[in-house]
């Protein structure tokens, strides 16, 4: 023990399990790319890149919020339903169903702001249930998971809303410097969250609350406020993803928008190497995790394996990722 305590620098001992848990996702990502370069025709094209990135963008955006929630030791099952609500409100505003106007100068900002605010408030409600009534997060967010989609269906009478509004749809279909807007949004969200965790006091407090809530509280950290904050962020990001999805489809179906998204997001977080027990947040890992899942699916599809089989591979990936995490923790 003394030998270790006297050394000045970090002890350079190599631990394969720890290394794998840290870089495993990146390794898998690179291996998948290498495999596709060799095996999949036309893989190295801008089109392939765009297809994959646009498909992964919404998952990443939601998964970033999920990463923050999971870092506090919670989980947010309601993200898919919040996407449906945000995705239902925006077309209603654009089509003049809420306010009696379709003046673009009025409805366009409202079509962005109102859904995001509503999603944020619903996120706050999740946080309120968790902090005020000490309800377990999985149960607390089950409330909106169930009720949220119902609310979206009631708002739209269960009808498909079809719309065409190029300025609004720019969030999904537009390009900035040749990069799809939604990919750009994804990058901004990832960068902002990574900075939040690494560089800000709030980020460290999120990890402290997840790592040891009692210690955090005794250190003067407003643990409840921190928790409510992450649920709000998760809600807003889910709302944003909902807007992108309906903009991409030129249609909003409350039954389908964000369906199963909570599981995709949790899978991305798990594969990305964030502990589901809280206390850690690996935002870049989540990005890579989502990319790996997407790329596996793409690889299988491009090589003639049906989508249903891809689900099994996805499940296997999650098992492997969690196994690596745990074996790294044991050493």
């Amino acid at each position: 023990m003394t030998a270790a305590e006297d050394t000045a620098g970090p002890t350079p001992r190599f631990n394969f399990a720890a290394w794998l848990s840290r870089y495993g996702t990146l390794l898998a990502f690179l291996l998948l790319i290498a495999f596709n370069v060799i095996a999949t025709p036309n893989f190295l094209s801008l089109q392939t890149l765009n297809v994959n990135l646009t498909q992964v963008a919404t998952i990443v955006i939601v998964a970033v919020g999920m990463t923050l929630v999971i870092a506090t030791g919670g989980i947010d099952l309601s993200v898919g339903s919040l996407m449906a609500i945000a995705g239902a409100i925006a077309p209603m505003i654009l089509l003049g169903a809420i306010a009696p106007t379709t003046d673009p100068l009025v409805v366009l900002p409202l079509a962005f702001i109102v859904p995001l605010v509503v999603a944020g408030l619903l996120g706050w409600f999740n946080g309120f249930l968790v902090t005020h009534y000490s309800i377990q997060p999985i149960v607390a967010t089950l409330v909106l998971f169930t009720a949220g989609r119902g609310i979206a269906q009631v708002m739209t009478n269960g009808n498909l809303q079809v719309f065409k509004n190029p300025p609004f749809q720019f969030v999904a279909l537009g390009h900035v410097f040749g990069i799809p807007t939604q990919v750009l949004i994804m990058i901004v969200v990832v960068a902002a969250a990574a900075f939040l965790i690494k560089g800000t006091a709030l980020g460290r407090q999120i990890l402290a609350v997840g790592g040891n809530e009692k210690a955090a509280r005794l250190s003067g950290i407003p643990a409840k406020r921190v928790k409510r904050f992450v649920y709000v962020i998760s809600g807003v990001l889910a709302g944003l993803a909902g807007l992108i999805v309906v903009a991409r489809n030129s249609a909003s179906d409350a039954n389908l928008v964000g369906l199963g998204m909570e599981l995709d997001a949790i899978a991305a977080v798990a594969v990305g190497g964030t502990l589901l027990t809280g206390g850690r947040a690996n935002i870049i890992g989540t990005l890579l995790g989502a990319c790996v899942i997407q790329l596996v699916r793409y690889t299988l599809l491009a090589n003639g394996v049906p989508d249903a089989a891809a689900l099994v591979v996805k499940a296997a990936l999650i098992v492997v990722a969690v196994y690596i995490q745990q074996s790294a923790d044991r050493t």
Binding site: T2, E5, T11, F14, G199, L207, N212, A215, L218, G220
Partner: protein, 498 residues
Amino acid sequence: MLLSMTGINKSFGDVRVLTDASLQVGPGEVMALIGQNGAGKSTLIKILTGAYSHDAGSIEFQGADVRFGSTAASQAAGIATIYQEINLAPNRTVAENIFLGREPRRFGLVDRARMQADARTVLRRFKLDIDVNRPLQDFEAATRQMVAIARGVTQNARLLILDEPTSSLDEREVAVLFETIRTLKADGVAAIFISHRLDELFAICDRVTIMRDGRTVAVSPMKDISKVELVRTMLGKELAAFTAKKRAHGDGEGAALVGVENLGAGVRVRDVSLTIGKGEIAGLAGLLGAGRTETARLIYAADRKERGAITVDGRETNYVAPADAIADGMGFVSEDRKIEGIVPEMSVRENMTLAILPKLQKAGIVDKAAQRAIVEKYIAALGIKCSSPEQPIRELSGGNQQKVLLARWLCMNPRLLIVDEPTRGIDVGAKAEILKLLRSLADEGLSVLMISSELEELIAAADHVTVLSDGLSVRRLASEDITEANLLSAMAYQEVPA
């Protein structure tokens, strides 16, 4: 010999933690295992129980060469470990905990009646007459510990490993525990007893194995070794006596910083009054359950007070949360480092600056340079041993973790530091160091409220001591009145004869 471990070597990466360590225990023998934090005790025990595997050496248990692949395997072979942090299911009943995983069955179903009857029988052996159908969490620490031991006994354990078993027990409970160990000893059950309380070792153990720097440095019958010799062998040097110098005005006559009057909340704190002067170490004594920690938590607003008044600098406080107390210059080092102190995943640097973070930010962004300066200053000032500020705090020894937690508050430049059992689970050398540190901080003007179960610690360090009994502040002792006899008689105040 029941157990014979010889020539045990173990490295983690390139760090050697055990070198030719050995441990022998005879049947029905109680073996003390002592050493400073980091001496290799817990690693040796973990190798024995199969939690770690050894690099070299041999283990013989009940005459056979063994190498347990898991803790389950060592349990099945008859080794039961009772940990500091008790490994039971708090929300299951006492009976369920005792028979967890091997419930008596009848027609394939759990035979609850038999399970309860068996549980009662085994607990009665330890003179414990409790309702075995109540959840374990309803009982105090000592009872939970007995249940853990009872669980080991019903597994036909031949060897009990007791890791700091008395750290959360009061004297009466310790007596009950020792009685239990003697009962088991008569049945030929051996025990390895790990404790930092030397008096207890002399009271219960037959022999002692002393470890230092990963080696077994001495084995001796308890009766052939003196306390001083024991400590000297353990530390490898003469123990610097920690008779910290008291303040000249150390009788509470200095200007009061904190005044507590008729404080109360619930049944644990009924009526507590005390004062803490500027630059004083005020002791808070009492038996387990007397309301010491609860009182401190009320002062710090970790819990809400229901009655009474707390004044700081003459002004009455109305804190809502610890954050308010912190803003007013208070700090709180809790009793249980693992549960309420450290954030295990985080580094030394982040743990140390957890409380000061709000002051280290500019527009929400942490000022890394200022943070590093603070961390480096306190690592040097308190002599914290870590490989780097980035080392996860969970890898540090207990004493060093405690120093990081002290630094968490010292960097805030507080007026009052509340320390709850500041030397619990810390080796003798580090104990003296922490007490000296508190003394020198008090000399610089910091007020300290020190909760301690160790009388000699209070006698050595406190300027005055308030004794609590059953939620009441029953006595205040100053300077030379702080003696073992006075403290004990005050603690025993109003104790209802059983």
